[in-house]
Point group: C2
Chain length 139, copies 2
């Protein structure tokens, strides 16, 4: 990832805090492959924006609003990744890289249709297989 955006931070913080409820700046820096100083600066900014609270001795945690945003951003990433995986546009690594680039352009609240498609494909593999079988280049 090049310079992570605020959305990337919120998504990473969602992953880090999902289990235990809080995270440390060093965990965040490691996950985003950035310096602790950069991570710390963004944590301060997200705190000022009302999205994070400082947790004495434990680092930081989401406010309810931060949690809401983090969850939506994480869900967006997952939906797009599952979708492009179904489309088989490349290796898992290719898919991840593409999603990192495109996700910011999708409104989190406008993903319903793609999400429904992903669920529909999962629930009706025979339907999707029809395309995979018949939809080749010679069609």
């Amino acid at each position: 990832m090049s310079t992570p955006s605020q959305e990337d931070y919120l998504e990473a913080i969602w992953v880090l805090t999902d289990q235990k409820g809080y995270a440390r700046v060093t965990d965040l820096a490691e996950r985003l492959a950035i310096s602790p100083a950069s991570a710390s600066k963004m944590v301060r900014r997200l705190h000022e924006a009302g999205l994070l609270t400082y947790e004495r001795y434990r680092g930081f945690a989401f406010t309810p609003e931060g949690k809401r945003q983090g969850r939506l951003l994480y869900a967006r990433h997952q939906i797009l990744e599952r979708f492009l995986t179904h489309l088989a546009i490349g290796t898992a690594e290719d898919v991840h890289r593409v999603v990192e680039g495109i996700e910011h352009h999708f409104d989190v609240l406008r993903l319903n249709q793609i999400e429904h498609l992903v669920h529909y494909i999962d629930a009706h593999p025979e339907w999707w297989n029809q395309f995979l079988k018949d939809g080749g280049p010679e069609e």
Copy 2:
């Protein structure tokens, strides 16, 4: 569009030159909503890269390699736009804006699968309708 990238230029030049084979810097500036000076600078750069030739009295035209790239980039935009239109992620304007953002992240040579899906949907609307009818949120 914010600052157009080289890919946006090549795509726009494809559209401008497709009919008559050449275009003027002023047409390009108008289409990309940028200053003639910026358009002129990029035309010079693309000329140096071997993608454009200067056409006396008529502006500039693609070299074969420029034409090849322009065609692929234009096709990529069209495929993604048709695809997101099928997915009904928003108005035509929303779709266009999203495509302008995401297209640069898709390898032009890796779009086969999405292209096949778009063609398959067009050729088998009843297949796609199955998802549109059954794939709603309550599923």
